[in-house]
């Protein structure tokens, strides 16, 4: 980082050939500067320039990919300490822990839960991302389990074994899945380093302290291993927090290369209480854990964790948006009230929550406002009478209700007149300004 778009631009070929996918070199430079493009996309760079820009435009925390295909998991790539400064790039991967010590039925049950757990929210699919398989007995049992998991799911894998041979063997059989090899330690760093290079798989590094971790990581970088994942060895909540902060700060503030990688953390090893484990995992979501290994995937804990990760990793400058359509809340019929608002996700969640709480079945029309809140959208011309009217006509609400009364947000009272002109059949009602007053309003309206 650090180079501005203009500085990068000066080094580009300036031919505007468009091969990089955007029409101009300037546009490409801007994408590079904001970390939205890879240098390799421009085929016409000299090696010198590549090296110079590569150095400058690489994020201080390397982006590491584990797994392949649709279920590949991208980690790291972070450029800031606080999400308000820019945005956190890649949400953490919640990872199910399996061990060859578990009996078959337990493993199957856990895997089934893992696979079926998936939620849709604001058009995003939220689900646990990876499975960690640990060998704690003999090599053959470990192999068998790895194979079972490979056959059972396409999810990315973490292979864990203290026996380097068993680990190598397993890694080789599934290297096409690009698993994370866990973990290089003082004892086996060379073997595993070479293995990771040979298989082009990412490698986890585990130290018993930050010092040891730095030493190992440094060694692996020198060997030429590119994709590392860091484990500082901390197994308490407090120490983990400290280590995670120090690792992230070293990478960002000191450009300390050995710590410029995503991390792996093990709430599952920090407590026996699954509720507490979930709390520690939540801490890691906010403070810099990349792979978060959990002992179980249960809806009541993984769902809130996924929400937390979604919240923390949204772009603070780009609002989340929900789909434009008619949302039916409760058992609606042809007499149910009709309300309209913008598609900023928070607006949607809060308004729909309040309508739900009112127990007055209602149609909530969500109009695309590019994720802007009602007033901002109005100011930007995306929520005026001229755009609402066609939406009302096209969205199909006129077929669903007998009446022609439309409740608009209280803050938009100013467009009521215009809207009535655009929608002569409709009566425009001014709703409350605050969503929290909706239940009272709706009750009165339907009374």
């Amino acid at each position: 980082m650090g180079l501005s778009g203009i500085e990068i631009f000066k080094k580009l070929p300036k031919t505007n050939c468009g091969k990089c996918g955007v029409p101009t070199c300037l546009a490409f430079a801007m994408k590079l500067a904001t970390g939205k493009a890879e240098l390799d996309a421009c085929p016409d760079l000299s090696e010198d320039v590549k090296e110079e820009l590569g150095e400058a435009s690489a994020p201080p925390v390397r982006t590491v990919v584990i797994g392949t295909g649709e279920r590949a998991v991208k980690l790291g790539g972070e450029t800031v300490l606080f999400r308000h400064e820019k945005r956190f790039e890649n949400p953490p991967a919640f990872t199910l822990f399996l061990s060859d010590k578990m009996d078959e039925s337990e493993i199957s049950a856990k895997l089934t839960k893992f696979k079926e757990t998936s939620y849709e929210r604001v058009g995003l699919v939220l689900r646990p991302a990876m499975v960690a398989v640990k060998g704690e007995k003999d090599a053959s049992g470990f192999m068998a389990l790895v194979e079972k998991v490979c056959n059972d799911t396409d999810a990315a894998l973490v292979l864990m074994n203290e026996d380097a041979d068993a680990l190598s063997q397993a890694a080789k059989t599934c290297s096409n899945r690009k698993p994370l090899i866990y973990a290089a330690t003082m004892e086996n760093v060379e073997t595993l380093g070479n293995l990771a290079m040979e298989l082009s798989c990412p490698l986890a590094v585990k130290g018993n302290s930050l010092e040891e971790l730095a030493e190992l990581s440094e060694k692996l970088i020198k060997m030429g291993v590119k994709d590392l994942i860091l484990d500082s060895g901390a197994r308490t909540a407090g120490k983990s927090l400290e280590d995670q902060i120090i690792i992230r700060r070293s990478a960002l503030m000191k450009k300390f290369k050995p710590f410029g990688f995503p991390t792996i953390v093990f709430p599952c090893e920090m407590t026996d209480d699954p509720m507490k484990e979930a709390m520690i995992a939540c801490q890691m979501v906010a403070k810099y854990g990349s792979i978060i290994v959990l002992s179980e995937i249960e809806g009541h804990s993984i769902f809130p964790l996924l929400l937390a990760s979604m919240n923390i990793f949204t772009d603070p400058q780009r609002p989340m948006a929900v789909e434009q359509k008619i949302y039916e809340i409760g058992a609606t019929d042809e007499n149910s009230p009709v309300l309209i608002t913008g598609n900023f996700s928070l607006t949607y969640f809060i308004v729909s929550g309040e309508v739900d709480a009112s127990r007055v079945p209602s149609y909530l029309l969500i109009k695309d406002t590019e994720g802007l809140s009602v007033l901002t959208a109005w100011a930007a011309g995306k929520f005026g009478a001229d755009t609402i009217a066609p939406f009302i006509k096209k969205c199909g609400i006129e077929e669903k209700v007998k009446h022609r009364k439309l409740v608009i947000p209280g803050y938009l009272a100013t467009i009521s007149g215009e809207l009535e002109e655009e929608l002569p059949d409709w009566e425009i009602l001014i709703g409350p300004r605050e969503a929290s007053h909706l239940p009272a309003y709706l009750k009165e309206l339907s009374a």
């Binding site: 939620y119 407090g238 050995p258 801490q283 009541h300």
Partner: protein, 318 residues
Amino acid sequence: MTFEIPKVSYSGKIKEIPLGRGENIITVGGESCYPFHLFEGAIPHPPKIAMEVYDKEPEDWPDTALEPFADVAGDPVAWARKCVDTYGAEMIALQLASTDPNAEDTPADEAAAITKKVSDAVDVPLIVFGTSNTDKDTEVLKAVCETCEGKNLIIGPLGEGNYRAIGATAIGYKHTVMASTPIDINLAKQLNILLGNLNVPDDKIIIDPTTGALGYGLEYCYSVIERIRTAALIQEDERLQFPIIANFAKEVWKTKEVKLSEPEAPLLGDQKKRGVLMEAMTAQCVLLAGADILVMRHPEAINLVKESIQDLMIKGEG
């Protein structure tokens, strides 16, 4: 291999605010570093949890939330006592929810009388929330201030529209105020300046930056709390160096996700545990952002968060 721990140099410190009275004073604030960053600063007073008590029997709570209080719901005094005696509450947060003109519209003097009874019944610090209705809160909280003179209650929310009226009364009757602004660092700062101009003493101000629930805008609150803390600790923003309160339990427990039963939504797991974790994780996030006082509801969620605070207050080893 040695490497240098990159430390942040903090030029500011959060003010220490004593809450409650007499021997039962609990002090909050005083941090000279980011939350739980014990390797580079001091946290003299770990964050505290205030347990919610409602003035009237709640109507729309899921059973999972009501169950621990089923025997006391409707009786705020008994409820508060139960929180202290059974659940070891460090503070009580009385929500005068029924005063909302859109709800029962309980008159100010009645609300004040309830508050007085609760404050007489427990000796832990008492936080009193109105309903964010500017005019009604003014009436209610003024009456509360007068009725509970000398108890050093923590009252709020004080907003742009009523900070003068409530603030002046709080000065007169010596209570602490919560300055409430809608998720905006500059508005938070401005309100603190205005309270200062009104002569509310610096050791009687708590920032209420507005907190949403997990999945319902928590990210905005999270960031605004982090920004307030950063401004206070390293950017010498003196008017932001106050402890922060996060009042989110009521937001969490009204979301759809805590109300769905397991048969209705099998993928969401156990309803009670889910609700508890939704609340506890909201708490966990705002703790890590910088909150000093958490207003919470479910005893099990509270226990989880207490443990979490303890764990995070242990320095170093492990």
